[in-house]
């Protein structure tokens, strides 16, 4: 366990209280290993370590009775800071209607999150409408429709032959008359390297100008979180992230990668399959989880 490992290193000091370069190297390697095992991206972990290096081996640590604990405290607080400090409030300007667009890789949890967000916003006195804009996956429209019905939220599914853009524009036009003040648009899963599918998102963004574009990321994502986040940010622009399936035991180091690469906020945590299982993202809880 990290505390014990670091205490071991410091206990083996040969120089009275003065850390040798070997001790320093070993300490940082141990912390880097923990981050990599937690799925933090290789380069992100490297940068993070160099960020904590100076502080982790400063006077406060060296003169401490429990230097191992001190280092962990520094690493933990640096992680919390990088993850966003504290939970972020999800403020959406009222635009008649406002629009949220959910994007991400296949199977990350977008459709489920759409339902969760609808329930959440209804609780905040919005009148949401769910828009099924995934015309590719078999029964995607049915899936969102069933979720919408389960929480008594209106759901509009694309007509046969209708393109996602047409569906979304149609709902946006109808919204004021129907009393809907926010659209939650569920899109098809796609690879960040699929230029045609990314172009579809760009067109949706240009024509609909959503107030929030949320990249939905599976918390068990490994090293590739960096490539995915940076490509979506570069090609489309992302306002924030939702990290899903945190009710599992994935350490979730991808969270650090998302933040390090884009500095956009992680807005929500999906913590189950039920539509009520949505929480704000808490940086301090995530930091502890990453450190194991």
């Amino acid at each position: 366990q990290l505390t014990n490992k670091l205490d071991q290193i410091f206990r083996n000091l040969t120089n009275r209280g003065k850390l040798t370069p070997a001790n320093i190297h070993e300490t940082l390697r141990e912390i880097r290993r923990v981050l990599l095992e937690a799925d933090v991206n290789y380069k992100v972990a490297k940068d993070f370590i160099s960020q904590v290096e100076a502080e982790a081996l400063g006077e406060e640590v060296i003169s401490s009775i429990t230097p191992g604990q001190k280092v962990i405290k520094i690493v933990h607080s640096k992680l919390v800071e990088l993850l966003g400090g504290s939970a972020v409030s999800f403020d959406i300007p009222r635009r008649e209607p406002s629009k949220i667009m959910l994007v991400g890789l296949q199977g990350s949890g977008k459709t489920t999150l759409a339902g969760k967000l609808a329930l959440y916003l209804k609780g905040k006195n919005w009148s949401p409408v769910l828009v099924a804009a995934d015309i590719y996956r078999p029964a995607a429209g049915e899936q969102l429709n069933i979720l919408g019905k389960s929480i008594s939220i209106p759901t509009v599914v694309f007509e046969p032959g209708e393109k996602p853009l047409e569906t979304c524009l149609r709902v946006a036009r109808e919204a004021p008359r129907r009393g809907w003040d926010i659209l939650i648009m569920d899109t098809a899963g796609r690879l960040q390297i699929d230029t045609v599918m990314m172009a579809e998102l760009k067109q949706l963004k240009n024509k609909l100008t959503p107030e929030k574009i949320i990249l939905v990321v599976d918390s068990m994502t490994g090293q590739e979180a960096v490539a995915v986040a940076s490509e979506f940010e570069k090609e489309l622009g992302v306002d924030g992230f939702a990290l899903t399936k945190l009710d599992g035991d994935a350490r979730g180091g991808a969270a650090l990668s998302l933040r390090a690469i884009t500095m956009k906020p992680i807005l929500f945590a999906g913590v189950g399959e039920k539509l009520s299982q949505l929480e704000p993202f808490y940086p301090d809880r995530m930091a502890s989880r990453i450190l194991g």
Binding site: L105, P138, I193, Q223, D247, E273
Partner: protein
Amino acid sequence: VGLNRNIDRDFLDALEEVLITSDLGVKATIEIIEDLQDKVKQSRLRSSEDIYDALKNELKRILIYRDNSPAETRCSPYVVTFVGVNGTGKTTSIAKFAYRLKQSGKRILLVAADTFRAAAQEQLSQWAQRYDITVVNSQAGSDSAAVAFDALEKALAQKYEYVLVDTAGRLHTKSNLMEELKKLNRVMAKKIPGAPHETLLVLDATTGQNGIQQALAFNQALNLTGIFLTKLDGTAKGGIVLAIKKELDIPVKYVGTGEKIEDMVEFDPEEFVEDIFR
């Protein structure tokens, strides 16, 4: 990586970076690099190109497997279940697998045993209808094991050669859901001793180190016979399967390469390892 470089710490660090960024994980990477260093000493490999090849060969050796599952010709129907955590591609993969078997003229029965998730039944039905494959459905909320039991009865009566069972996604940390899968196996074995003959863990190629936890838990509960690695058409290398093979000796048998019905191939260790270094 840069061939013909000095065999020094920098070179080994570069190899380490390739393996870790491919999701092999720290433990497997360290073991493999240390074994490589031993081999370098023993066989006195000099050029970085030789060491590079030795590494590739070692990775291929880890991934190669001998098929231990019962001969498909000896069991009729041959029952295959698809299991895994949420969203990995089970339903899509089972459709691809069925289509492939159908192309070789087999009689297949699909079982929509995900009785939980919204529109799971509809999703599999739509795949089945599109490619004219028989599917056994049920009401949402009905007992998953009961659906499978009835499907096996039908398979025996109507002489189906293959029964492919789709299950609901579930996190391996949820013991009640893992129990449900164990019950599914017990119930199927009652109807057809030896069923399921193949249990495939459907694993997303973007998965990091949690893939090991998944393989461990599903294997302990069900005895996995192989992995169906999905979404390898993305940018993730899927290196976690190397760590899984090394640690648990569970082989990758099939790979998903896209969202269309024909997007699957048999696992090729050679191609997989070459891809890690591309």
